[in-house]
């Protein structure tokens, strides 16, 4: 029998994120928690879900759990492998991605993301990997989900050190009509922050059992608004955990 008591942080985040994919058709996901969430959703709430990888793979049927978004096991047996111009131009910018998953070192209340530097760009204290395709995922996906392991004021900041991947509010301020809603869900160990789109800030819409709104406020670097109908997140069900553990990541490669 699957125990729901010893749920790890990775399991919790994967399960909660998977539920948000209900009914979605295409998801742009990196390796790790996003892939776990998407794979679980495929088995549960989104049977038609297709995972598209930045490397160009569509409709992967991997023989083993992939270690990177370009893992050879994603290619062998896939339904399509596209060039980068086709993937970024036709699929992503063309508007075929319902949900893009992104991570970041910092996020602000508008869902703008920093994955470039801590400190000043020209003389940073920490140089991070930079945009990769995150800017395009943000600009072109219907909406963006962010899964953040760490919910603290260093990551949830009042002001980004650098805005790598801007949400639609910043795009509009730059005079350009955004194509997607930007970040609509931020899933953390404390709860879920959400916003609908342009002009709206992230607010706390749900907490995990035992977590208070004040705790989340304290962990957030801006004055966090809390939904009037603040929900409590249903803990992972035994069926969800069983599929995650036995079908999605039986080797516990990412379910650390």
């Amino acid at each position: 029998m699957t125990s729901t008591k010893d749920t790890t942080s990775s399991e919790l985040l994967s399960v909660v994120a998977s539920r948000e994919l209900a009914g979605k058709r295409t998801v742009f996901a990196g390796i790790g928690l996003p892939t776990l969430a998407a794979s679980l959703a495929h088995l549960t709430v989104a049977p038609d879900l297709e995972i598209v990888y930045e490397s160009g793979v569509c409709g992967a049927h991997p023989s083993q759990l992939p270690e990177t978004i370009a893992d050879a096991v994603l290619i062998t047996g896939a339904e399509a492998v596209l060039s980068m111009p086709a993937l970024f131009g036709n699929v992503l910018q063309g508007g075929h991605i319902d949900v893009g998953f992104l991570g970041a070192a910092q996020i602000d209340r508008w869902g703008n993301l920093n994955s470039s530097v801590i400190g000043d760009w020209a003389d940073p204290s920490v140089r991070l990997p930079g945009p990769g395709g995150a800017m395009e995922v943000m600009a072109n996906s219907g909406e963006v989900f962010v899964v953040m392991r760490r919910h603290d004021p260093r990551s949830f900041v009042d002001k980004l050190d650098f805005c790598t991947s801007p949400g639609p509010d910043r795009a509009l301020a730059d005079g350009i009509r955004p194509l997607g809603a930007g970040v609509t869900r931020v899933i953390t160990e404390l709860g879920i922050l959400a916003r609908q789109g342009v002009g709206e800030a992230l607010r706390l819409v749900a907490v995990h059992p035992g977590v208070t709104a004040d705790q989340v406020r304290a962990a957030t670097g801006w004055p966090l608004e809390v939904a009037e109908d603040l929900a409590t997140i249903e803990p992972p069900a035994a069926a969800e955990l069983r599929r995650l553990r036995e079908e999605v990541d039986p080797g516990r490669v990412y379910l650390r």
Partner: protein, 310 residues
């Protein structure tokens, strides 16, 4: 895995409506003729047809009374002569005028690229000094924001209501594989709001997955899959059957005479219930003349991770 297979009649009924903008692509190879015939059978009207090389199938759709406007970069019966109906419509508004929006090949390619990539325009190096610019207000200039301030022509995106292409094979969900000339089909599909893929054969998922690099159109871009063998005639499908060059050569005389052209339509399009009947009417002996021998590619190794690994 959504099963998107349907019949040609159902696909045309569901995805091609009067007044729609319909892209039919396939550059000499894999021309979706059978889809054009079904559009004629179903009596669609006022279509805007987008097609780089407006050739026989367009002449037939014009004669079928389906087309109000044509967007194209080449209007001729390949190198085999003229399109009679098209010339009568353009030269004499006979039996009615034809709106015509003209580009070069790369202009059309750029329009599909912009459409597929949701770009407001696509820049191309040609058009400077062409009289086409004076008859097509869609051709505009943009100045480079870089040091040289160079100017370049741009074309506007095209986003057809539906794009119809023909391919060698697809799986039930629409993962579509094409070889030989691949043309502009993938971009035309991505540029469209809806896409119908017609194929020589629908194959097992495994056939597609054994060679994912051949999938030029992934299922997420496809709305309907129609099996229609020999559906490109008189065009060809590499490895399946050859081009019917005699038909091309014969078309110029047929289409030069409105009476003969209408008789041809009556017999071959309105007189057949569907493409299988058209195929059967041509007869197996006819098709034997277009048959090709095998020239198989060598397999490549995609590799499989060993269980020992890591």
């Amino acid at each position: 895995m959504t099963d998107k297979t349907t019949t040609m009649a159902e696909a045309i009924a569901a995805f091609v409506h009067d007044g729609d903008t319909v892209a039919l692509e396939g550059f000499t190879h894999l021309i979706p003729t059978a889809a054009g015939h079904e559009i004629i059978r179903q009596g669609r009207r006022d279509l805007t047809v987008v097609r780089m090389t407006a050739d026989i199938v367009v002449d037939q759709m014009l004669a079928g009374g389906c087309v109000r406007k044509l967007v194209s970069s080449f209007v001729g019966n390949s190198s085999a002569g003229s399109l009679g109906e098209l010339r009568r419509r353009i030269e004499r508004a006979d039996p009615e005028p034809l709106e015509f929006e003209e580009y070069s090949h790369y202009g059309m390619i750029g329009r599909y690229l912009a459409g597929a990539q949701r770009l407001p325009f696509y820049p191309v190096r040609s058009y400077a000094g062409s009289d086409l610019v004076s008859v097509n207000p869609g051709l505009r200039k943009v100045r480079s924001p870089y040091d040289d301030g160079e100017q370049v022509y741009v074309v506007p995106p095209v986003n057809p209501d539906v794009t119809i292409v023909h391919a060698q094979r697809a799986d039930r969900s629409g993962n579509t594989q094409v070889w030989g000339l691949t043309g502009i089909q993938a971009e035309a599909v991505y540029a469209a709001k809806k896409a119908v893929v017609v194929v020589e054969e629908i194959v097992d998922d495994d056939v597609i997955r054994r060679d994912p690099n051949r999938t030029l159109i992934p299922s997420h871009a496809v709305d309907a899959v129609v099996a229609c063998p020999r559906g490109t005639h008189p065009s060809f499908a590499q490895g399946y059957y050859d081009r019917d060059n005699a038909f091309y050569r014969g078309w110029s005389a047929i289409s030069a005479d409105p009476g003969r052209l209408r008789a041809w339509l009556s017999e071959w399009v309105f007189g057949t219930r569907d493409h299988p009947e058209y195929v059967a009417k041509l007869g197996e002996r006819y098709w034997a003349g277009l048959a090709v021998d095998d020239a198989l590619s060598l397999p490549v190794n995609y590799g499989k991770r060993r269980e020992h690994a890591r």
